[in-house]
């Protein structure tokens, strides 16, 4: 799907993201104009900032970390010891907060939420999806994680423990999903294509090898 943001064009909004009640949208636009006029930042700095935010994407950032962890035992050990340092060693900025890698195993499935707001490893995964910030996800995943995961098509076997991690301003998480079966001998680039944003939040599994 292509998006042309120069023409009026709006997608249907989710319930937690209603049509802007115009006064707050206007407030945001007004604030931006005034800050530029007062020289707090320039229009060019705003454009660069948006580009910088949007240059972080799952394929070039988070997925590379997971694929490397699947391939390289030394990297996995480093990731366990100090995730931020290990991520930096790949040339990826881990962000300004603590970061912790949560490894899924055949016995344990990890899933991440921020019940109080929207704390998220934006430096690894980009902007959080709308559902991550929604009331429904934040309210329910801590109480009935299996039911919420099932809504993502992810049925967790009853003998697998589900651990829910509540992010905060100082500590963010990235889930290392289970390596899909049948990927022996694959390269990091091939493996990275199986790693999705949702699998690193923990709501889904990595893609199956056949899906690549």
């Amino acid at each position: 799907m292509t998006h042309d943001h120069t023409t009026p064009h709006r997608h249907p909004n989710q319930p937690d993201h209603p049509e802007p009640s115009s006064s707050y949208e206007l407030l945001g636009v007004a604030l931006n104009e005034l800050l530029i006029e007062k020289g707090i930042y320039s229009a060019d700095e705003l454009r660069t900032q948006i580009e910088e935010i949007e240059s972080v994407n799952v394929d070039s950032h988070g997925a590379q970390i997971v694929a490397k962890a699947w391939l390289d035992e030394d990297f996995l050990t480093a990731l366990r010891a100090d995730a931020a340092d290990a991520i930096r060693s790949l040339g990826i900025d881990p962000g300004y907060t603590e970061i912790m890698a949560l490894e899924n195993t055949p016995e344990v499935h990890n899933v991440v939420v921020c019940t109080l707001c929207s704390c998220y490893p934006r430096w690894l995964l980009g902007r959080p999806p709308a559902w991550y910030k929604s009331k429904a996800y934040r309210a329910r995943v801590v109480r009935e994680p299996r039911a919420v995961l099932a809504e993502f098509g992810n049925d967790i076997a009853t003998d697998v423990q589900v651990r829910v991690h509540d992010s905060n301003a100082e500590l963010r998480y990235v889930v290392i999903p289970l390596r899909p079966k049948g990927t022996e001998g694959w390269t990091q680039a091939q493996l990275a294509r199986l790693v999705t944003r949702d699998s690193m939040i923990g709501v889904t599994q990595a893609k199956a090898a056949t899906a690549s």
Binding site: H3, H5, R10, H11, N13, Q14, P15, D16, H17, P18, P20, S21, S22, S23, Y24, E25, L26, L27, G28, V29, A30, L31, N32, E33, L34, L35, K38, I40, Y41, E45, L46, Q49, I50, E52, I53, T115, L116, C117, S118, R127, P129, A130, W131, K133, S134, K135, A136, Y137, R138, A139, R140, V142, R143, V148, E151, F152, D166, A169
Partner: protein, 109 residues
């Protein structure tokens, strides 16, 4: 944990509340949302906003009714504006006047 067992710490504390199914569809941001998103980063870089705690405090101070009524980036716009007013960078009057002007501009176009 179920709702009622642990007191909520504020309007933003959704943990354990009752809620409907999760809408897992994607949502593309409108341009004004991308701008508001970037403003928060720039306010931090330029030292207008001291830290993220200040930004969150202004969101949590919206109160339960406003918090639940506003969309995500509407809350951010409200918080960014409150931060700038508190820092003395803009006044409420300037914001109101400019917002009215923009509304008039978009009506005319």
């Amino acid at each position: 944990m179920t709702s009622g067992e642990t007191p909520r710490i504020g309007p933003h504390d959704f943990a354990g509340l009752d809620a409907g199914p999760v809408d897992t569809s994607q949502h593309d941001l409108a341009q004004w949302e991308r701008v508001v998103d970037a403003i928060i980063y720039l306010l931090g870089k330029k030292g207008v906003m001291k830290d993220v705690a200040e930004f969150r405090r202004h969101i949590e101070d919206l109160g339960p009714d406003v918090y639940e009524r506003l969309s995500y980036y509407e809350r951010w716009a409200a918080s960014a504006a409150a931060t700038c007013v508190e820092a003395g960078v803009v006044t409420r009057e300037e914001l109101d006047a400019r917002a009215a002007e923009i509304a008039k501009r978009s009506e005319a176009s």
